[in-house]
Each structure stands twice: as C-alpha cells, then as structure tokens.
C-alpha cells in the first residue's frame, strides 16, 4: 500500500472532523440521568428531628467492630470528623451572629450515590455498587491503595488508614452484613427520635416530599438533598438550614462521573481510535523504515561502522 503524506493528512482531518461531529451530536442530545436499582435501599435523615445524642455513632462503631477513636480526647470517644475509626458522625452547625440560621445537627456518612465517583475512579472494582441494594462497599484484596476514590469523592467520604503499612479504606457500607441478615442498619435501628430512618429509596423520597408538603416553610428551599445532587444519592437529607452550612456541597444533577467522562467513553469506544492510530502508524512506519534502513546500510558500506538504528 502506497500512502503519501497528503493522504495521511486527509485521513487525519477526516477522522478528526468525524470525532468532532460525533461529539457535538452526542453532547447536544439529552443528558443521561443515572437511575438507581429498583429496590435500592436508602436512609432519610431529618436534621430538624435530630437531638444530637450520638447514639448512632456508638451503634455504628459497635456494629462494624471499629476501635473507639480517642486520639483527640483520651477520655472520650470524640472524633472530630469521619476518619479511619469512624464511619458515621454527628456534627453540629453553630450559627454565626446575624446569619439568621438556627443551630442544626448533621449526620455524615457515605451517601451511596446512584452514580458514584469512587466506583468510577477505582481501577479494579475494589469499591463496587451492589446491583440489588445499591450499597457501595469496599473489597480489601482488590484495592491497591491509590486513594483515587478519596480524590474523586465530592463529599470527602472514603477515609484512609494513614498509620498502617497494611492500610484500609474506611467508609460506611450500609451495615451490609446486617442487611443480609434481614436487619436494618445500626444507626437507623437505634435512633431515639427516628431522625434517620431506613427504607426503600423511592418510598423514602415520597415520605420526604410528604413532610415538605405538611410543613411548607420548615425546610430549606423545600428541597430534598440527594434527590438530584450529582445524579442522586441513596441517602437523603432534609434540613432547616442551608445545606452548604452543613457541609453538603452544592452539586448540579449533571455532575456525575459518566457525564464528566463522556468524552473518554466516546473516544475510546471499542478501542477503535487507538487501534486505528496504531495501524495507520505501522503503515507509514514500514514504508519509511525501509528507506531509512537502506540509507543506514549505505552509510555502513561507506564508513565500515556498525549502523545505528
């Protein structure tokens, strides 16, 4: 096959134009919204009901066999944030003078996103989303410890065991052993005022909207946090104060990983483009290499020195 440079440029331009047009068509089409599994489990946390007793923190540590975190205060179990000993925590928002908000508690744990960043990031499916319950859990013998999940998670949830040579990723796994045994997670089980409740995600969503309808002015923006954020999460929040103040970031519904990676998916579809580049390059290289080789051997005959590739 005799291909000239002009042909190469032509092929390259056509291919580039094709990719560009395809991309433009793809991006102008309706954005795909991820959907949770049909029977996805969920939690609904109502910040206005929470009394801050931290029963759930203790129950979580107990159910998951976590060591008490006494690093901040040697007397009490008083972690200041989620960490390698803490999968679940209650935090308090104290209003500043004049910002008009009341104080509020917030329970933080893994949001179990519908389209999780950590699962998209993990190279070997060490973090995986269950196909039935939608629970995101961690498998030790697939994890290489690259900590990409920590970098990618917009909620800063996966925590890393920094002090061990055999380090682990620690995050809420929705008490999956308890779920398998037909029980609900430890935190929802113990909660005295039922501020956090367990159920199917779609039913909980309906319940949240019912509460908003019952008390139209009680909740912030009459909005359920987690319904659409980053494509939706399975843990839902209701709050009287701004979610930003509770440490729940503002994320639009299109900011989910498959949307961020849509270009990679298109370009690498069936690995066609890389293979195409490879085959094209081999074609040109073979032709040019033959000429180079002939020149090299001629040089060798002239000087008597070993040809240099």
């Amino acid at each position: 096959m005799n291909v000239t440079r002009r042909d190469l440029l032509k092929i390259g331009t056509l291919g580039g134009a094709g990719v560009a047009v395809g991309g433009a068509i793809g991006s102008s089409a309706q954005e795909e919204v991820p959907t949770p599994p049909r029977n996805a489990v969920g939690m609904l946390y109502d910040s206005t009901k929470c009394i801050g007793c931290k029963s759930c923190v203790v129950a979580c540590a107990d159910a998951n066999g976590l060591q008490p975190d006494t690093r901040v205060d040697s007397l009490h179990q008083a972690p200041n944030d989620l960490n390698s000993f803490t999968k679940n925590i209650i935090k308090l928002y104290k209003p500043k003078y004049g910002d008009g908000a009341t104080f509020a508690f917030v329970k933080r744990q893994c949001m179990h996103c519908v389209d999780p960043f950590c699962v998209a990031a993990c190279p070997f499916h060490a973090l995986e989303k269950d196909k039935v319950t939608g629970v995101v859990s961690w498998t030790p013998d697939k994890c290489i410890g690259c900590r990409y999940c920590q970098l990618a998670c917009p909620y800063q949830i996966p925590k890393f065991d920094w002090d061990s040579f055999n380090a682990k990723i620690v995050k809420c796994e929705f008490c999956k052993e308890r779920l398998a045994a037909g029980k609900e997670p430890a935190c929802t089980y113990v909660c005295p005022p039922k501020a956090v409740i367990f159920g199917r995600r779609d039913l909980l969503l309906r319940e949240a909207h019912r509460r908003i309808q019952e008390h139209p002015d009680k909740y912030f923006e009459n909005r359920v946090y987690g319904e659409r954020e980053a494509g939706g999460t399975q843990v839902l929040y209701l709050s009287a104060v701004n979610f930003d103040l509770l440490g729940l970031p503002h994320l639009s519904s299109t900011e989910h990983p498959s949307n961020w990676l849509r270009w990679e998916e298109r370009v690498l579809k069936f690995f066609a483009l890389p293979v195409g580049i490879y085959v094209g390059m081999v074609t040109f290289l073979k032709q040019n290499f033959r000429e180079h080789e002939a020149e090299m051997d001629e040089e060798h005959k002239k000087t008597g020195l070993m040809p240099q590739l």
Binding site: A120, F124, K142, I144, L151, L246, P249, P274, M281, N288
Partner: protein, 436 residues
Amino acid sequence: MNSHTQSDLTVVRWQRGVPVFGVPIVNKNFLFLASIAIAGSALVIYREVAGLGAATGLSDGFPWGIWKTFNVMTLTALGSGSFPIGIAAWIFRKRRLHAVMRVTLLISFLVYFTGLLAIAVDVSRPWNVYNLLSVYRWNTISPMWEVLWCMPLYCLFPLFLENTPPVLEQWWYFFPPGRGLVVWLVPIIRKTYPYVVALAYTLPILHQSALGALMLLTGNQVFPLWQTPMLPLLYVWAAAFIGVATTICSVLLCCLTWKRPIDQSIMDELVQLMSWLIFPWLALRLLDIAVRGRFTLMFTGGWLSVIFWLEMLSIFVPAFYLRRQKYRHHPYLLFRNCLLIVAGGMLYRFSPTTFAYRPWRVGIVAYYTPTVIEIIISLSFICTCICLFLIAVKRLPILPAPLQQWYESESYYRNFYPYIQMSGYGKDQHRPSYAD
C-alpha cells in the same frame, strides 16, 4: 569542487551517537546525586514500615502528594519527548531528527522508570497490583486503570526495546562473546521495529491523556480555569512540547558540559516542531476557557489567576522569541528559553493537581505541605534518573556527534583500555557480518 571548503568545516553535522569518552563517571557531582538517591531509598524502607501517615504530609483532605502529582503526573511529561520527535522523524519524515532519537528515548525510559518506582512507593497496597492481570476485575472506564496498564507496558516493552540498540552496539565492540547474540538479535529487531515503534507512539498518547482524565473525576473541586472536558487533550499536547523542550535542554547541556559541537540545523528543526505544538495549544486553551464562559476568571481568580498567567506567559514568551534566528542560534538564549517553556509546562501539569485542587469542605481545612522525608524521596527518584543518564551517556553511544568524534573515541579506547585491544577492537574494521 573541493568539498573541504571553509564553510564545510565550520558547519557541524551530527552523524552518529558517540559515548562521552575520557571523562570519569564518578566525580563530585555524581557522588552528591548518588548520595541523595541512596538516602531516598533508605527512607523508602521507613515509609513502607511506618505507613504513609508518618512519612508524608498527606491527610484525608489531601490524599495525593508530590510522588503522584509531581514525580508521575508532572515529570513524565519531561520524558514524553520521544513520541512527538519520533512521529516527526518517522511519519512526517524529518530525517535529521533521528540524530537525537537515542537521547530522547533514554530520557523517556529513565523518567518513566523512576516514575513507576514513585507509583510503587506511593500506593499503599502494592501487593494487590496483580489485579492488572485479572480481567474480570478491570474497571476499564477508570483513568487510573488506563494509567496503571499503559505506563508500565510502555516503559517495559516498546521503550525498553527501543533502548536496546545502543547496548547491543556496545556489546558488539567491547564484548566479543556477545557478538553471536548481537548478530542473531539485530535482524529480528529490524523486522519488528515498525510494529514496536508504532506502539511506542500510541501508548503515550493514551496514558498522557489519561493522566489528564484523572483530574476530570474530581469534578468541580478543581478550579474552572483548569478543569475542562478538554483536560486530557491539553495534557497530552502539553506533554509533547514539554518533552521536545526537555530534549533540547538536555542535549544542549550535555554539549556544553562535555564541549561537544552543536548541530544548529537539528536544533532549528526541534524548535520548529516545538512551536508548531505550542501556539495551537495556547490557542486551544484560551478558546476552551472562552467557550466555557470562564474568561473573567483569568483576572478575578486571585493568586490562581497569577499562576495561570505564569503558565501561559512562560510558555508563550520564549516560544515567541525563539521564532527569531538570533535566539535560536545562541546556545545560552536557546537553553534559557527552552528551560522557561519546560518550567511553564511543568507548572501547567502540576497546578490542577495541587494549587487549583480545592476539595469542598466546611470547618476542617486540609492543607498539604510535603514533609522533608517526602521531598528527599521525591528528589531521590530524580537523582536516580540523572545518575543513570550520566552512566549511560558515558558508556553507550547515545549523544549525537560528528563522525570525526567517533574516530577520536576509537583511538582513545585503543590507547587507554588495553583489554579492548585484546578483544580485537579496531582490528577487523568493525564490520558487522549481518549487514553483508
């Protein structure tokens, strides 16, 4: 016509890779670099035993430190010179660029090799890397998977094979028992060369863009001046021109250090290749920011705007000046301008991972300052790279030179290394039999 005119003698033409001869490998500078490398490897043992928390300044808020963001994501761009130069030489038929191929391939191999070491030290459960071979565990959408597959594959297969010819050549001349092997291997290498080389250009395009895609998944945690769906393309493109600039810098530095002649025509061609890459890149970056409607952030982003302008100007201004012959034909000005381009490009590759990465948080603020241990280990990878480079160029025919220098090196080895006389070096006209 008489070919030996005055101009013919002054114009230098690089014809052949020649080892740097008559210079000892071990000197004061080498010992200094080697001591950092050794100190670093001792500290690596401490890091493996004590864990990442004790050795580094990393925290849950800032999980990636300089081993990944600098040694891998930034420095591998310096080692990417081989693919733009190779594509220009082999596919766009810029034949003269073959002269610097050996240097740039060596730099690529060493930078990628030490980069792989950095990844191995950074990941905290390295024993699970066997998962690369278990197909059912692959998450092919993850950019990390692409990086973890492509980078070792590139470094240990095509790049390694491309670096074998200088070693075989050395065997041919200095190790007579190995000649049989060389005669057997060289025709095989020549047959498979196009296939291997094409792979060596496809793989870096893939994984250099995947390095950019790594930051895509952090979403809006990266400042919008850097975060864009175009990040993979900008990353691989930046790697291309940074690699060319690094090649120019290192060849110039070698020539000036060991007083070797400089082939100006090849330097011109490299600079031309570099500016062909730089100006469209700058335009694409500005266009991308404009299309996303983030134009005002270039002036209102506080110190991140300053970093942005530092990046853009330290790439644009030198590239602009290098269009003039006066700047290209003056070794110092050429070196200085290429060094600025390398610095600006490195800053571009580094910023989105560290300066512009602002994880969303309330109350608890995570700052990252690398610890001394971390910095020494990071430096030790760089020093290992430089030490291996110095050994290689002093023992292998890698740095380009005029043919005359080859004959000088021949007489040098004949006179100063008697054992080479015993091996028959210089007696049989060095005529390899496979080429006849």
